[in-house]
Amino acid sequence: MSVLVEKANLSLKYIAHYNEVKELLFEGSSDVINAARKKAFQDFVLQGIPSRKNENYKYTNLHPRFLPDYKFVHQRENNVVDTDTVFRCDVPQLDTDRQLIFNGWFHKNDNGPLALPKGVILCSLEEIARKNPVLLQRYYTQIAKTDADPMVALNTAFAKDGYFVYIPKNIILKKPIQIINFLQANNSTFVTQRNLIVIEAGAGAQLIMCDHTLNQNQYLNNSLTEIYVGENANFDYYTLQNQHNKTTGINSVFIQQERDSALTAHTTTLHGGLIRNNLNIVMNGENAEANIFGMAFIDKKQHIDNSTLIVHAKPHCRSNQVYKYVLGDESTGAFSGQIHVARDAQKTNAFQRNNNLLLTDQATMQTKPQLIINADDVKCSHGATVGQIDEEALFYLRSRGIDEDKARLMMMNAFAHEVVQEIKVEALRNRIDGLVEKRLNGEVARCHECNYNCES
């Protein structure tokens, strides 16, 4: 069989699967989700699984990851959640309102209902679709378009559940919401997770998303989160990725910001097999601000690709991006950051920086800044560096009696520190600081009882 046919067949496999389970997908889902499903499927058929010829997936070859015969989770699994064992997020002093996602499906915390302010909703996508389809319809698929990215199309075609967050006007959450995302199955499993977050005008919230794997099976997790940040609203979105080496994580996050809103999106990748993070932000009102931070620590044959697109659609907005990677062994990294300043989006301030530390000669990094500027009164800048640990600085530390290993660790920590310190939730910041140090130290940074399968 030629490679070409094989590739076409790979997409066909998923198309065939959709047709096989179509009834199951439509059954029990609301019209809102099902209406989008039809078009999404068409869009997936047109696009197929992206190859490296697709400019947006140039540095990440997804094809081998779609080859295995995965089991799908199109229905809610019951009695799989053993909250006694999985609810051990051991972050001290991290006081959050916590819920679970299990193989893409939302599960309520067994410890009883959360004491959320009146009007705040934290439930499953399935539940909101059933109880308030009007609310869902207002936002669902409004930001993530299925014709622009096949992974968005595939997610929307298979979407059944995920979490839904709604913060009504002028409500400020005191505690962060924490979603713990677990993968656990007896077979190789394909997981689809679809989330929606709506922060209404003047509201404020923080959300912490922790990704974990519980056993060594192979997973492909295609998750998509749409986030709407209303006028003068404030939202902080933290992601901690800590999954084993057989996991493929495709995490697409689409954010729309209205005027005067402020966003922080912060991603820490401690571990994962292949991770592709898509972060798309549209600044849809004046005077919006987005601060975007990412850091990744990878080794062995891991691959991490952060792809960002910041659209400055309106004047007077500010965006600031800092991504830092530490790559060891034969790991590979990619960063592509696109900033798009629309016509008449004057007085835009857009900054982007990507710094990478290669610890070995075998590790590689691809970095691609792209600035498309269609306005003439803007400040935009980008910078990228790929380098090794500064030998002069290393010698300086050693000349004061600090052992080489320790000195290297201090330097790596120093490198990551800039991104760590941007975490505003203190307990989380301290925890991630500790995890990063452990990770850099060569100890497995466990923040949960999960298997990393570090051999592969």
Binding site: F395, L397, R398, G401, E404, M410, A414
Partner: protein
């Protein structure tokens, strides 16, 4: 003799293709201050870096003993812990490494090496305050990274402060005076003098006699083309200040 701190015998070193040190002989005893002077590119900084253990320099012949042990076999960190200190000509900025964390780690590594207990946070802060006062260091160190954003003078004072914290047996100060105004120069010199003891020794590398007004050397050596071509008392420094290096160059065939 037991009070010899450093003994360099016929030391040759290469930096890439350059034969930078061509047979250095030098003996330094406890309590002594040696000044090393010489024109640019004569090998002064090379000597300092070789002694501190910088790996870019290849030792091609000779030996160095430090406090009776072979120095050249040891890693930079072990040389430091044995009591050798290099005050850098250009102290490097290390963003993200907090100054206090850095110096605390260094002090505790030294203590561990000597079989002493690590300092508690309280003890460390007390020591730090004492030593900062001793070297008249006014720079706020908390919440700052190593040398980051320090002025030229602050960086040099920071070197002397680190020296005070680590209490070396042999301090090598590589052009600590360059780029300093006269007040900063005095402060640095006062710091060095305050740390002087009958058990310790120092090597002061400089271009200018003016530092030696404040740190009075017992010996002055002129390094030229990788060799010590002249050694004498402190009066040699004055002569060099007056006459420059041309006569040295002439005497040595250029």
């Amino acid at each position: 003799m037991s009070d010899v701190v450093l003994k360099i015998t016929d030391l040759h070193a290469h930096y890439g293709q350059i034969h930078a040190l061509k047979g250095i002989n030098l003996e330094i005893k406890a309590g002594e201050v040696h000044a090393i002077m010489g024109p640019n590119g004569s090998g002064k900084s090379t000597l300092a870096n070789v002694l501190a253990g910088k790996e870019e320099y290849k030792i091609t012949a000779g030996e160095v003993t430090f406090r009776g042990e072979n120095l050249l076999d040891k890693s930079p960190e072990n040389r430091a812990k044995d009591g050798l200190f290099l005050g850098f000509q250009y102290p490097v900025e290390i963003p993200g490494v907090p100054m206090a964390n850095f110096i605390k780690t260094a002090v505790n590594e030294h203590r561990k090496h000597r079989g002493e207990k690590e300092l508690t946070a309280g003890e460390f802060l007390k020591l730090m305050r004492e030593k900062m006062e001793l070297v008249e260091m006014k720079t706020k160190l908390t919440n700052r990274s190593v040398n980051e954003g320090f002025s030229g003078g602050e960086k040099k004072k920071n070197e002397i402060f680190q020296m005070a914290m680590l209490e070396p047996k042999l301090a090598i100060l590589d052009e600590t005076d360059s780029g300093l105004d006269i007040d900063a120069l005095k402060t640095v010199a006062n710091g060095v003098n305050a740390l002087k003891s009958p058990e310790t020794a120092s090597i002061v590398i400089t271009h200018y006699q003016r530092l030696l007004d404040y740190i009075v050397p017992d010996f002055v050596h002129v390094l030229y083309r990788g060799r010590i071509v002249k050694s004498a008392g402190k009066e040699l420094a004055l002569e060099l200040e007056e006459r420059g290096y041309d006569w040295i160059k002439k005497e040595n065939g250029n």
